[in-house]
C-alpha cells in the first residue's frame, strides 16, 4: 500500500466525533478498578517494598551493604539516578519540542509521556539522598541560612544537580498540570450514572479544575502560557541532562572528562526516554483500547526518533575511542581499551549491541510498525542504556591512574533490591495515574480531530 506522503494522515482513526473521543479516553476513569488492576498494583507495590526494605537496612547499618568500595565509590545508586533522569527527559521533550515544531501527532502521547517524566524524576530524586553516607545531613546540600554561617560549594556539579533536578521536576509538574486543567474541567462536568465514580473523585476534579469554564478569554492566555512553558522546557531538558553529565564531565578521570558528554548524555536521555514511552504506551493502548488515538503511526514516528538518537549515541561511543587514540595520552587510551577488553568487557558489549545494533532493525518498515517487535527493541534499548551508565561509572573508576589503587566492583543483593524497588515505584505511580487522570489529553485530541477546527481556517495556518 503506497504511503501518500502529500496529505497528513488523520490523527484520530475511525472518524470519531469529539464526543466519542471523550468517551473513549474517559472510559477507564468512569469504572471502578477491576481484579486485574488490583493484581498489577499489588505486584508493583510489593516490588517497591522490596526496595524499601533494602533501603531501610542500608540506612540502619550503613551503605557498606552495597558493593561500593575504594576506588569504585559510586555504584548502582548513581547509575540508577542517571538512568531514571534520562528516562524522565523524554516526556517533557516530546510535549515541549514537538509542540514548538507543530508536530500535531504529539497530542496522543504527550500527556502520558509527561506523566512518565514526573514519575521517573521522582524515582531519580530518591537516589542523590539515599546514596550518601549520612543521608540525615542531606539538608547541607541546600544553601539555607544556618547557625554555622556555612553555605554550599557552588562549583560542585552535585549542587548543580540539586538545583537542576528540582527545577526540572517543578517545571514538568507545572507543564503537566497546566495541560490537565481543561481535562479536569471536562471530567468534572461529565454526566455519569451515579455510584460508579465516587463523590470524592468528583470533588477532587472540581478542586483541581480550579473552576475552569472553557472560556475563550482564558484559552487565549492558556495557549500563550503553554507556548512559553514549552519554550522554556526545551532548553531546560537539554540543560538538566547536561548538568547530570557534568557529574562526570567535570571530574579529572579519563573516560569521564570529555567534552562530548553533555550532547552524548542528552541524546542518550532522549533515546532511553522514547524507548520507555514506546514500551509503556504499547501496553496502555492495548489495555485501555486507545488504538485509534495512539495509532501505529505515532509509534512508528517514535521508533524513527529511536533510530536517530541511537545512532547519535553510537557516534558518541565511536568518537570517544577516536579522541582517546588521537589524544595520544597513554592513560586515556588504556581506559578505553580496558573498557572494551578488560574485566567489564561483557557490560560494554551488551551496551554497544543494545544501543547501536538492535535499533538498526527499525530501518525495516515492517518491524517499525509491528508492536511485539517494537516492544522487544525498546526494552533492549533501555537495558542497553542502563548498562551504558554502569560502564561509564564503573570502568573509569575501577582502573584509573595509579595501578596500585585498581580495584573490582561487584553489586550486592541490596543494590539489586533497590534498583528493583525503583522500577516498582515507577510502575505503581503509572498504574495509579491511569486510574485517576486521563491517559491522553482530551482537549488537545479533540482540537486535532477531523472537523474540529472551523473549515475556512484549516488551510490558512
Amino acid at each position: 500500500m503506497q504511503q501518500d506522503y502529500t496529505k497528513e494522515p488523520s490523527l484520530v482513526e475511525g472518524r470519531l466525533t469529539i464526543g466519542e473521543i471523550e468517551e473513549l479516553i474517559a472510559a477507564p476513569l468512569d469504572s471502578r478498578p477491576g481484579f486485574k488492576y488490583y493484581l498489577a498494583l499489588t505486584i508493583t507495590t510489593s516490588v517497591m517494598l522490596v526496595g524499601g526494605v533494602c533501603l531501610a537496612l542500608s540506612f540502619w547499618f550503613g551503605i557498606g551493604l552495597w558493593g561500593n568500595n575504594q576506588p569504585v565509590a559510586w555504584g548502582f545508586p548513581i547509575v540508577n539516578f542517571v538512568f531514571w533522569v534520562g528516562i524522565g527527559h523524554a516526556g517533557t521533550l516530546i510535549s515541549a519540542i514537538l509542540f514548538l515544531l507543530r508536530q500535531r501527532w504529539r497530542t496522543g502521547i504527550a500527556r502520558f509521556a509527561e506523566a512518565m517524566t514526573i514519575f521517573a524524576v521522582m524515582c531519580a530524586g530518591i537516589f542523590p539522598v539515599i546514596h550518601t553516607g549520612r543521608p540525615w545531613l542531606a539538608g547541607y546540600l541546600l544553601p539555607y541560612p544556618n547557625q554555622h554561617d556555612l553555605w554550599v560549594n557552588f562549583t560542585s556539579p552535585l549542587v548543580f544537580d540539586v538545583f537542576a533536578v528540582s527545577t526540572y521536576f517543578t517545571v514538568s509538574l507545572v507543564f503537566w498540570y497546566v495541560g490537565l486543567i481543561p481535562d479536569f474541567a471536562t471530567l468534572r462536568d461529565r454526566v455519569v450514572e451515579s455510584g460508579v465514580v465516587s463523590k470524592i473523585k468528583k470533588t477532587l476534579y472540581k478542586v483541581f479544575s480550579l473552576g475552569w469554564r472553557h472560556s475563550n478569554r482564558h484559552w487565549q492566555h492558556y495557549e500563550k502560557s503553554y507556548m512559553i512553558l514549552a519554550g522554556f522546557a526545551t532548553p531546560l531538558v537539554l540543560s538538566v541532562h547536561t548538568i547530570v553529565s557534568f557529574d562526570f564531565a567535570v571530574s579529572v578521570l579519563y573516560g569521564w572528562h570529555t567534552t562530548i558528554f553533555p550532547p552524548y548524555f542528552v541524546a542518550g536521555a532522549i533515546f532511553s526516554g522514547f524507548a520507555m514511552v514506546v514500551t509503556v504506551l504499547v501496553f496502555v493502548r492495548k489495555i485501555f483500547d486507545l488504538e485509534q488515538i495512539i495509532t501505529i503511526d505515532h509509534l512508528e514516528k517514535m521508533n524513527k526518533i529511536i533510530i536517530a538518537t541511537g545512532m547519535m549515541v553510537g557516534y558518541a561511543y565511536g568518537i570517544e575511542f577516536f579522541i582517546a587514540w588521537y589524544s595520544g595520552n597513554p592513560i586515556e587510551q588504556f581506559v578505553f581499551i580496558n573498557r572494551a577488553f578488560g574485566p567489564y568487557a561483557w557490560a560494554y558489549w551488551i551496551m554497544v549491541s543494545c544501543n547501536v545494533l538492535v535499533p538498526q532493525f527499525f530501518w525495516i518498515r515492517k518491524i517499525r510498525r509491528s508492536v511485539p517487535l517494537m516492544l522487544i527493541v525498546s526494552l533492549l534499548v533501555n537495558v542497553g542504556m542502563w548498562f551504558e551508565r554502569y560502564v561509564i561509572v564503573v570502568t573509569s573508576l575501577h582502573r584509573d591512574f595509579l595501578p596500585s589503587s585498581w580495584g573490582h566492583y561487584a553489586p550486592t543483593l541490596y543494590d539489586a533490591g533497590i534498583l528493583l524497588g525503583s522500577f516498582g515505584l515507577f510502575f505503581t505511580l503509572v498504574l495509579l495515574f491511569t486510574k485517576t487522570m486521563p491517559a491522553v489529553s482530551i482537549a488537545e485530541v479533540k482540537a486535532v480531530a477531523d472537523g474540529a477546527q472551523p473549515s475556512h481556517r484549516e488551510e490558512a495556518d
Binding site: T17, G19, E22, F59, W136, P143, D149, W151, N153, F154, T155, V159, F160, F163, T167, T170, V171, V174, V178, P182, A185, D189, R190, V191, K206, L210, G211, W212, R213, H214, S215, N216, R217, H218, W219, Q220, H221, Y222, E223, K224, S225, I228, F232, P235, L236, S239, V240, T242, I243, F246, A443, E444, K446, G451, A452, Q453, P454, S455, R457, D461
Partner: protein, 386 residues
C-alpha cells in the same frame, strides 16, 4: 447549587465550530463587550473573532526570568565570594563559569512558575468554582462537544428579551438563562477551621522541636558530637573510681619532668640558691600578674597580708618583715613549692619558671615597700622622662 432569581446572563449553544465562529463575530459586531465564548478546546481564530487584545503574559515571563538569573547570581556571589570565601581547588573566590548552570536553572524556574501562577491567580482569578456558569446544562454541553456564547446581564447593551432574540437569530440550538448563585459566602474562620489551625500549629511546633532537639540524636544518626574516646577531665566507665585521667605511677620520671630535690624537706635548702631568671621587664611583669592571681588573695596586693578572704582563712605574716627580706631566693621558691604551716603548696598551679618569676616579684615588692631615698629619686626621674 441554589440559585437566586437575579439573572446573570443568557447562554446559547451551537453545534459546529463554523457556527460558533460566525456567532462570535456577529456578537462582537453587535456591540456586546461583556460576553464570552465557551468551547471544549481552543478554536483557531476565535480571539480575532472576539476582537480580544493580545495577551501580555510574555512580559511577566521576561521580568521574572531576568529577576531569577540576577537573584541567583547575587545569591551565589554573596555566599561564595563575600560572606564566606574559601579556597576551593585553587579556584578564585568568584568562579563565574561555575555559576552559569545554576543561574540558567533559576531563570527557567522563576519564569515558568511565576507565569503560570500569574495566569491562574491574576488573569483567571482562579480558583473560581463559584462562577454561575458551573453546574448548568450549558456548561456540561460545552464541556463535551458543543460550543456556546454567554452574554452577561451586566453588559451595557443587555436586554433580556432582545438578547435572547438576537441569539436565536444567530441560529442557537438552545438558549438558557443563567441565574446568580444563592449560597452565602462561608466564613473563613469557622470553629472547625480554627481547631484545625491550632492542631497544625501544635503538631508542627512539637514535630520541629522533637526532631531537631531529640530525634536526630538517636542511633543510627551519628553527629560525632560525643565520640568514643576519653577527653581531658572527663569521666570513664572503664575505671571503677570514675576518673578518666590516671595518676602517673609513682617513681617514674617523665621526659621533661623537673624534680625538685628539696621536695618534702622541712628546712630550707642549705646551699643558697640564686634565682636563675634575670630580672627583665617581662619576667617582672609576668611575676606581678602571677602574684596578683595566686598570692594576693591571702598576702594582699602589696604583700602586707591585706587578705581578701573575709577572714575565713588565717592571716599570713607580712612579706616585709626583717626575716622575710633577708631570706634567700631559694627559700621563697621553697615555700612556694612546699607551702608552710597553713599555706598550701602552689607547685601544682605554677610551673617552675613561674615560681621563680613570683619570687623575683616578691623581691621587687619588698624593695619597693621600704625603698631607700636613692630609689625614690631614680623612680621619679624615670617617671618624668617617660
Amino acid at each position: 447549587m441554589e440559585r437566586t432569581s437575579k439573572l446573570n446572563g443568557v447562554a446559547a449553544l451551537f453545534e459546529t465550530p463554523d457556527e460558533i465562529m460566525a456567532a462570535a463575530e456577529k456578537t462582537a459586531e453587535a456591540g456586546y463587550e461583556k460576553f464570552d465564548v465557551n468551547t471544549p478546546y481552543p478554536v483557531h481564530g476565535m480571539d480575532d473573532a472576539m476582537k480580544l487584545p493580545p495577551t501580555k503574559l510574555g512580559f511577566v515571563t521576561l521580568a521574572f526570568g531576568l529577576a531569577g538569573a540576577l537573584a541567583m547570581l547575587g545569591l551565589m556571589t554573596w555566599m561564595m565570594t563575600i560572606d564566606y570565601p574559601m579556597v576551593i581547588g585553587g579556584k578564585p573566590f568568584w568562579p563565574l563559569p561555575a555559576f552559569i548552570p545554576v543561574m540558567f536553572e533559576a531563570t527557567v524556574l522563576l519564569a515558568t512558575v511565576v507565569t503560570v501562577g500569574a495566569m491562574l491567580a491574576i488573569y483567571f482569578k482562579f480558583p473560581a468554582n463559584a462562577h454561575p456558569l458551573h453546574d448548568t446544562d450549558y456548561m456540561r454541553a460545552v464541556s463535551k462537544d458543543k460550543f456556546g456564547i454567554m452574554i452577561e446581564a451586566a453588559d451595557a447593551k443587555f436586554d433580556e428579551l432582545a438578547t435572547v432574540e438576537f441569539l436565536q437569530s444567530l441560529g442557537a440550538k438552545k438558549i438558557e438563562k443563567i441565574r446568580e448563585i444563592a449560597d452565602p459566602e462561608p466564613p473563613i474562620f469557622s470553629k472547625r477551621f480554627v481547631l484545625l489551625l491550632a492542631g497544625v500549629f501544635v503538631a508542627v511546633a512539637l514535630g520541629t522541636y522533637g526532631t531537631l532537639n531529640k530525634a536526630l540524636f538517636y542511633t543510627p544518626f551519628d553527629w560525632m558530637s560525643y565520640q568514643p574516646r576519653v577527653n581531658a577531665q572527663s569521666a570513664s566507665v572503664f575505671f571503677e573510681d570514675g576518673f578518666g585521667m590516671r595518676e602517673p605511677v609513682e617513681g617514674t620520671v617523665a621526659r621533661d619532668e623537673v624534680l625538685y630535690e628539696y621536695a618534702g624537706a622541712e628546712t630550707h635548702p642549705e646551699i643558697p640558691v640564686v634565682n636563675p631568671l634575670a630580672a627583665t621587664k617581662e619576667n617582672l611583669a609576668e611575676g606581678e600578674r602571677l602574684y596578683d592571681v595566686y598570692c594576693s588573695p591571702c598576702h594582699g596586693y602589696h604583700g602586707a597580708a591585706e587578705s581578701r578572704l573575709r577572714k575565713q582563712f588565717p592571716l599570713p605574716p607580712s612579706l616585709h618583715t626583717e626575716k622575710a627580706r633577708t631570706w634567700e631566693d631559694g627559700d621563697i621558691y621553697h615555700v612556694i613549692h612546699e607551702g608552710q604551716n597553713t599555706m598550701p603548696s602552689y607547685a601544682r598551679q605554677l610551673t617552675e619558671d613561674d615560681r621563680w618569676r613570683v619570687a623575683l616579684y616578691v623581691r621587687a615588692l619588698q624593695r619597693a615597700m621600704n625603698a631607700s631615698e636613692a630609689d625614690v629619686e631614680r623612680a621619679s626621674e624615670e617617671a618624668s622622662d617617660e
